[in-house]
């Protein structure tokens, strides 16, 4: 196969056990060149274990994985030279300046001389830090630090970039700017793996892998997962007394789950049209007039909660919260 077109990451039947605890169980997927793959999962699902295996820091118990064509068990050093890693704490030196941090990471990655000067210039421009090269990192706001940390992680032009909850504590405008940079890297062919439990971060990914209890429980584009995965349709019900409505509405035929969301209830139903036509009348008949109902699109979080609960429970569980 043409190496330029080969998948950037191949994971095949990967398992990792710590004693009797199974942290990863038979996980398989590919990441194509230039793809932005999001790993979503509850705390302790196995996201970090998976990333550590892919970075060559942990040996899998079973299965195999290659990054840029290199087996992570056979040659972990070579894997690490080809990847960039950015943690949620950004790992910058607060008492060094912007350029000093970049030089420091250049040294770690073995980039020196003119290539280093060029990469530093590139990183400074990319991060929008021109004119602030001598500023101490401690004086930068969260969004600047985040973009500088990204610049440090890609100094050696890695083909694969790992981002561990990259926008923790960064405000929305900076977050959008950061994601524009990630999309530019992906356009240049860099594969990006993001672990997160922020749903707005997940929306920026080209594909999502949902991991729970060490297993891959869903894989697809954000659009497809939201559309197919919640096992029903969602209604939003607004009325004056949502506490009483919550108690009543669970008895309405066709309502599988109900939960409070802001000033309204979210109902998980099999047939949105059917329930929407009857539920308000039914509530009025039980002393709660004036309710209104409308169909809403499930969110990424609806999808997440539904699939995680369904993977843990014998019967399909609720999503509507």
């Amino acid at each position: 196969m043409d190496p330029a077109r080969a998948p950037s990451i191949v994971v095949d039947g990967l398992s990792k056990r710590f004693g009797s605890f199974s942290a990863l169980h038979d996980v398989s997927f590919n990441v194509e060149r230039g793809e932005i793959m999001g790993f979503l999962g509850p705390n302790g699902a196995g996201k970090s274990t998976l990333i550590r295996v892919l970075c060559g820091l942990l040996r899998p118990s079973d299965g195999r994985a290659t990054v840029a064509g290199i087996d992570v068990v056979e040659d972990p050093e070579a894997v690490r030279r080809r990847i960039g890693y950015m943690s949620q704490r950004f790992s910058l030196y607060n008492d060094l300046s912007v350029v000093e941090n970049l030089r420091f990471f250049g040294g770690i990655y073995g980039v020196a001389g003119r290539p280093l000067d060029e990469r530093i210039q590139f990183a400074v421009e990319m991060a929008g830090l021109k004119g602030r090269e001598s500023d101490l990192v401690a004086t930068l706001a969260g969004g600047w630090k985040q973009r500088l940390a990204l610049g440090c992680a890609i100094l050696h032009q890695p083909a694969t970039l790992f981002l561990d909850e990259p926008t923790s504590g960064v405000d929305p405008s900076s977050r959008r700017r950061f994601w524009n940079l990630i999309h530019e890297l992906s356009a240049d062919g860099v594969s990006v793996l993001v672990s997160t439990h922020y749903m707005d971060e997940a929306e920026y990914c080209t594909r999502i892998a949902l991991i729970a209890d060490g297993r891959l429980i869903a894989l697809g584009t954000p659009h497809d997962l939201k559309r197919r995965s919640i096992g029903g349709e969602l209604l939003e019900l607004a009325c004056g007394d949502i506490g009483s409505a919550l108690d009543l509405v669970v008895a309405v035929p066709g309502v599988r789950d109900a939960a409070v969301y802001g000033n309204a209830l979210h109902l998980l139903v099999d047939d949105a049209e059917g329930v929407a036509a009857t539920v308000c009348g039914w509530l009025a008949g039980h002393g709660l007039p004036g309710a209104t109902v409308r169909r809403i699109a499930p969110s990424m979080e609806d999808m997440f909660v539904y699939l995680v609960r369904a993977s843990r429970a014998p019967q399909p569980a609720g999503v509507a919260a």
């Binding site: 405008s173 920026y204 969301y261």
Partner: protein, 314 residues
């Protein structure tokens, strides 16, 4: 929602300077009994400073704060009996068990033994934490730590709860459980102020104040804020969105384009007028787009557009 005769929290012309920086600059708002009020805004907007003054751990330079009728600035000790403050890192003792942490806070707040035990049992049950009473706090997951922090913050039955980014680092399943507890507190008449930079948190509040540079720009319900967005957000679903970006950006009536994983989010002046135009322009490129539809703006869309508008006007 029924508005009580007197607001649970009433903030008037609150200001705080640090040197030359006006961190909070004439902020006013009020929170009804049993209302969940959100403070949202970029870094440095004044969210945490406002929160600290409400919690009476920081004195304002000017302005007044009344909580349940008590003047917080004049009588911080009295106010503290009504108010509970849960900072981002709540002070749990990792080497004490769940039960011991709760007991510690109960004694700190001088809650009689019988009252706090019943209350703690109810709160732990609501958050699914009952089996973990003997576990060390240091061995809890992030989500469970937040729920324990909340239980400790509620052990003296405060009428007002202040939460600073309460679910940072908490996964969606635990976050939902956390919010179900907040909603049951709301049903009991507890008033809450929550600061957050995350839109899914903001969407769950009854009302929001959008802060920027120490001032309240807008204050409304999430639905009301969304109506303030001029125009509409259109989702273009395509597996080659990058190729569409420049074409879409150049169309009339397009105010902003955001690249998302499986397409583009386009801010247009009028969906009815621009969807047919966009569909036609995309068809001419030969790039396939499976869908061009209006989607509901989220709080982040509104937030970014309103902030940019203000920056342009400044």
């Amino acid at each position: 929602m029924a508005v009580a005769a007197e607001a649970a929290i009433d903030v008037r012309d609150l200001s705080k300077r640090f040197g030359r920086l006006a961190a909070v600059d004439g902020v006013s708002f009020s929170v009804a009994q049993g209302e969940i009020f959100g403070l949202v805004g970029p870094d440095g907007a004044g969210k945490t400073t406002s929160m600290r003054m409400l919690a009476s751990v920081m004195r304002p330079d000017a302005g007044s704060i009344r909580v349940d009728g008590v003047d917080v600035v004049a009588d911080p000790d009295l106010a503290k009996r009504h108010v509970s403050y849960m900072p981002q890192r709540f002070g749990l003792y990792d080497d004490l068990t769940v039960d011991e942490n709760i007991r510690f806070y109960a004694e700190l707040f001088e809650v009689p033994g019988r009252a706090w035990r019943e209350r703690a049992q109810r709160l732990l049950a609501a958050s699914g934490m009952t089996p973990f009473g003997k576990r060390l706090a240091g061995q809890l997951s992030g989500g469970m730590k937040q729920k324990l922090g909340l239980t400790c913050a509620l052990v003296h039955a405060p009428r007002v709860l202040l939460l600073d980014e309460p679910t940072t680092g908490v996964d969606p399943v635990s976050r939902r459980e956390f919010w179900q507890i907040l909603y049951s507190l709301r049903a009991d008449g507890v008033s809450m102020v929550i600061s957050t930079a995350y839109l899914d948190e903001a969407e769950r509040c009854d009302r929001l104040a959008l802060l920027n540079r120490g001032r309240v720009m807008y204050c409304d319900t999430p639905a009301g804020l969304k109506r303030k967005l001029p125009g509409a957000i259109v989702h273009i679903a395509s597996n080659r969105p990058r190729e569409l970006l420049e074409i879409v950006r150049g169309q009339d009536g397009v105010d902003g384009v955001l690249l998302v994983g499986d397409g583009l989010h386009v801010h247009v002046d009028s969906a009815a007028r621009r969807i047919p135009e966009l569909t036609k322009a995309i068809a001419q490129t030969g790039v396939e787009a499976s869908e061009v539809t209006t989607i509901e703006p989220n709080i982040e869309d509104v937030f970014v557009v309103l902030l940019e508008q203000q920056q342009r006007a400044a």
